[in-house]
Amino acid sequence: MKYHYYPGCSLEGTAREYDQSTRALLTALEVELADIENWTCCGASAAEATSELLAMALPARNLALAEHQADSMDVLVPCSACYLNLKTVAEKMQSDAPLAARIHAALGEEGLHLKGRLRVRHLLDVLATDLGPAAIRARAARPLVGLRIAPYYGCQCLRPYADFDDPEMPTSMEPLIRAAGAEVFPWKMGGRCCGASHMSTQREVGIALVAGILEAARGADAVVTVCPMCQMNLEAFQGLVGRTAGKDLHISVLYLPQLIGLALGLDAATLGLDLNLAFHGEVKRKIAAADGAGPAGGSRDESPAHGRRITAVEEAC
């Protein structure tokens, strides 16, 4: 299996661990990634608030570069905002001829041409649909027994294009979490908005939205995300949001490939777990304990390798 890979700006900086863990997990699952050479920003949520055509031209440029490299592979995107921007262009190229003509005119300036035939896929779609829970279960050397995980999908991998999941009541992460040996924490906030850039531009509104999600997640061991903006909103403001709400809202927040990677026995450093802003001791201990229980849930493994893994997990934050 091979895909074009579009990391996007966040995955080079504030979400480096999402990039690291995505690459590590997909390598372990024998998936090959071909980075789009000279990729540039997709416009994030800034272009669509500035200029309609720019919001199309920026993602179109990246799809054109990918097509130029190879036009037979799907484009895999881990960031939900990048995914939606790239996917919107792919859809509009087929459905909106006048807009497609203007996109062509803009790209022509760089000597690029976009046929618009590539399929844009979110990482979660690829994990849930192309690989599936069986591929994970088969390789789960360290099932995360006893861990209750709240799956958080956010918005833009689900809507407006209901490509691989129910856009109102998403469930695509659940079989993957179970395949990793963990339990799914039942909640209804998985597809609720985290406020996106409100935390930067209109903070009091962002705080209210994040508070609702973190409060609902109480009782879970960790929240798992598939978007760098959701991740940042849920992990970075827990103290502030908790003080505003008058409650302790601290909870571990991991990227989905970090969680699955742990179950596959990949080490914490490879998965970038030292880079998370909210990865708390209790969960680390549970993961280490699950490791000790072993795949069959039997007696504790006292080998030096096991000891090193526990230390690595416990020291990872």
């Binding site: 608030a49 500035t50 203007r102 918005c155 406020g195 996106a196 880079l275």
Partner: protein, 190 residues
């Protein structure tokens, strides 16, 4: 009608009126059912509910539209677009209003539009966004000494994790200048 005051427009200009025409087309067949309002995660903070905003767009009440903070509070969750029984592109209509406010430099929206503008200018210069650079320019424009403090805690944590490189980017490593210029030219021609 109010006239623009000072060098920054505070109310709708003729260009903004044109923008409202395109938004009106998008919501033309709105039946005022309020599904958008009931679905919106940000409705609690809005002065006009989404339904009320579309009504004002349809009635051509441009001052009411461009004095409301409603469209700037859209976080693009697409629930209204998903659920609208008329199938209207409501999130896109919110974007179109943001674009108009940005293009017209409407003063009351500047804390938000300036953030996006400096973000996108950083992309123009470097191809990819540079947080340190765009936030520095954003703070400089906003001239609010308290504003950087709001970000300092998170900024320091990100620096400590090595996620926010403290180097000023080199110019023209991967300029998107030509693409941006062509896009502006095409938008102007419309």
């Amino acid at each position: 009608m109010n006239a623009p005051t000072g060098n920054r427009a505070t109310v709708a200009s003729p260009q903004v009126n044109d923008d409202l025409v395109s938004v009106r087309k998008m919501v033309q067949s709105c039946i005022q059912c309020g599904t958008c309002t009931g679905s919106c995660p940000n409705a609690f903070a809005m002065d006009l509910t989404p339904r009320q905003l579309w009504r004002r767009v349809l009635l051509d009440q441009r001052e009411a539209v461009f004095q409301s903070r409603t469209f700037m509070l859209c976080s693009a969750c697409y629930l209204c677009t998903l659920r609208c029984p008329r199938g209207l592109p409501l999130t896109e209509a919110m974007h179109a209003l943001k674009q108009a406010a940005s293009r017209e430099k409407l003063e009351r929206y500047r804390p938000v539009t300036a953030f996006y503008r400096h973000f996108i200018e950083s992309v123009r210069r470097h191809g990819r966004v540079n947080e340190l650079e765009f936030m520095t320019y954003y703070f400089a424009e906003m001239k609010n000494p308290m504003l950087p403090l709001r970000y300092s805690g998170l900024g320091l944590r990100l620096v400590a994790k090595g996620k926010l490189p403290l180097r000023w980017p080199l110019r023209r490593t991967q300029p998107l200048e030509a693409l941006f210029r062509k896009v502006a030219e095409l938008e102007e021609a419309r």
